[in-house]
Amino acid sequence: MRILLAEDDPLLGDGLRAGLRQQGFLVDWVRDGQAAEREIACGNHQAAVLDLGLPLKDGLDVLQSLRRQKINLPVLVLTARDAVPDRIKGLDLGADDYVVKPVDLFELGARLRSLVRRAHGHTQDLLTCGALQINLAARSVTLSGQAVTLSMREFDLLHVLMLNAQRVMSREQLEQQLYSWGYEVESNAVEVHIHHLRKKLQADLIQTVRGVGYTLVAAKDPLCGPVA
């Protein structure tokens, strides 16, 4: 899950990035409001953590202008401003969650997962597609009740495909979701991970649409999606 972190404090930004990475998030870190707005508008992230006291453009202004542009990315506001009117203002301006510093990293991770889940219309941290089930919090995968061990990237790729079941995802889209900044992405990285997934799971689970991309076999299994 690739998220954008907008925080101007070097020490806190570094800690949040490291802590979220430990939980399997892909984190891109920007230090000012304008960069945050630009990156969110690119649409490569599944959620954003937004500090309010950002230089160049205040977090609330960023939020307001994003919502005005009809960008519905889940945004978690992380701030030192704890007064109730501040919270109300933040939420009313379009924040999906409002967290006051300091925050527990695991709680932050759980809130981010929850935001992303709800953005996709799901209610639980458990996604299922036929015999395949993945647990986002535990980052575990089972196929017909049998645990399957996946690498971090393989899990993220499967997660993206499951979230976007019934849709074809292009290789570029998948790449954007899989890699945060600073990673050298091999041109065939996505193909390699798809290949590994097919080997570890069912071969026909992920189908290739020539010239377009990949999709999870949804048509064959109407139950594909979150556990009811």
């Binding site: 800690g15 490291a18 430990q22």
Partner: protein, 471 residues
């Protein structure tokens, strides 16, 4: 007057003053009346005496032709039958009035209380004499035309005095019962007059300590209006101070949240690092840095709050800015050396200013710390202290990135931090610098340095007595 100041209540003081004044006026009036009455009375009674004497003389001269025999008998009128038509009829004042009639030095007629000897040595006119029984008498002597009739008419002085006393009593007595009445009425009047003062004190005592809205009083007398106005002005100033305090506390608490959040995040990263020793070590180092930063922030906050608490009344003596700058440069030099920065100090002569040694040190330290902190590794920072035209000038230049004008204007706003800085400042250094400068009437200017970065100039007036510090 001391007595009045001893009275604690304004009401009691006013009342006492009022009563004393009334008594003084009244008694003075009584004294005047007494003197006046005495003179008038003397004049009137003396005239009576003279008239009586004249009457007696006239009677004797008429009587001589009618009854010569009675003269030699020396009769006393009141012990015999009133067969003498010339003798005056005497009433209850008889003992207070006396007369003697002499014919050729023979006492022919006298009142019972008159002595045998002539009452006065003065044959004509008034005299005050003392009788053998110790009583003082006013005596008038008169003689007939031939000189053979000598008449003395006397009146006891005591009787005059008792009349005077009666008059005096008539004036003074009303005061005795009027005073208590006046006291009660005066008390009520003073009480009524001081009512606005009482309601003001009640309004004040009812106030909550936090209540700082202005006092509103209807029909404020002009005597109290300035007090109410001053109080309202005071409330307003206090409100401003409290607001600033509240805002500062809130800001400070918010600013502390971020370093604490950072410490917490880094500590949690260290815990979650598993077998990644490099990550754990890095996170722990960052945790420590977070602690240092929080400490720095707290120190700066305390400095600022002490400055605020001292208000404008910080102690001042004559201090040598050159020495202080040297000391601070020496303290911070290791920081500069650690980042391969060049630190230069140009302070050729003592520069005396009126300020506090410690606070001036804090100011210099903050400026130098900023210059070093926000300039890149290997940068140049130069300090200079100079004295010219009655001014002491401290200039701090750096070859760092400098600041655009818009951001320079915002320096000194609490917790304002320039953009894009990776250095962890508290955002309070400039607030502190500006506050200290304000306390000691120094001006702070910022500009573009010849070295390429930020240039800060602080200008103090030279200490009035340059010699004072050199002794």
């Amino acid at each position: 007057m001391k007595l009045f100041t001893r009275l604690r209540s304004l009401q009691a003081r006013l009342l006492a003053l009022l009563l004393v004044m009334i008594s003084v006026v009244w008694v003075s009036a009584a004294a005047l009346t007494w003197v006046d009455t005495r003179d008038e009375l003397d004049e009137l009674l003396d005239a009576h005496l003279a008239q009586s004497a004249a009457l007696l003389v006239a009677q004797q001269e008429v009587g001589e032709h009618r009854d010569d025999g009675a003269r030699s008998r020396g009769r006393r009128i009141d012990e015999e039958e009133d067969d003498h038509p010339g003798a005056p009829t005497l009433h209850k004042y008889a003992t207070r009035v006396a007369f003697q009639v002499f014919h050729e030095d023979q006492l022919t007629l006298h009142s019972s209380n008159a002595p045998e000897a002539p009452m006065s040595t003065k044959a004509r006119g008034f005299a005050t004499v003392r009788f053998p029984d110790g009583q003082a008498w006013r005596v008038f002597g008169a003689q007939g035309q031939a000189g053979d009739v000598q008449v003395f008419v006397g009146e006891r002085i005591k009787s005059r005095q008792s009349i005077l006393w009666a008059v005096l009593q008539g004036v003074l007595q009303p005061l005795l019962w009027a005073l208590p009445v006046l006291a009660v009425l005066g008390w009520l009047a003073v009480r009524q007059g001081l009512k606005p003062l009482r309601s003001l004190s009640q309004a004040l005592s009812r106030r909550q300590p936090q209540a700082l809205e202005p006092l509103t009083m209807t029909d404020t007398p002009t005597d109290i209006a300035p007090v109410v106005q001053s109080l309202n002005a005071l409330f307003e100033r206090m409100g401003g101070v409290l607001d600033a305090e509240r805002r500062f506390t809130a800001d400070a608490a918010h600013e502390l949240r971020t370093p604490i959040a950072a410490i917490r995040a880094q500590a949690q990263v260290a815990l979650g690092a598993g077998d990644d020793d490099t990550q754990r070590a890095q996170a722990l180092r960052q945790t420590l840095e977070g602690c240092d930063r929080a400490t720095h922030l707290v120190t700066q906050l305390l400095t600022l709050s002490r400055l605020e608490a001292a208000g404008g009344q910080a102690v001042a003596g004559v201090v040598n800015l050159t020495a202080i700058t040297q000391r601070m440069a020496a303290q911070l030099a290791p920081l500069a050396l650690g980042r391969r920065q060049t630190l230069e100090l140009d302070a050729p002569q003592p520069a005396l200013i009126t300020a506090d040694d410690t606070l001036t040190g804090v100011l210099v330290r903050n400026l130098l710390d900023n210059a070093l902190r926000y300039s890149p590794d290997g940068a140049r920072v130069s300090l200079s202290v100079s004295v010219a035209k009655g001014q002491v000038v401290l200039q701090v230049d750096d070859s760092g990135p400098g600041l655009p004008e818009a951001e320079r204007a915002r320096l000194g706003e609490r917790f304002f931090r320039s953009l894009g800085t990776t250095q962890s400042g508290s955002g309070l250094g400039w607030s502190i610098v500006r506050r200290i400068a304000q306390v000691y009437q120094a001006q702070v200017h910022t500009g573009v340095s010849a070295l390429g970065g930020l240039s800060v100039t602080v200008i103090w007036p030279v200490a009035p007595d340059q010699r004072a510090a050199q002794i």
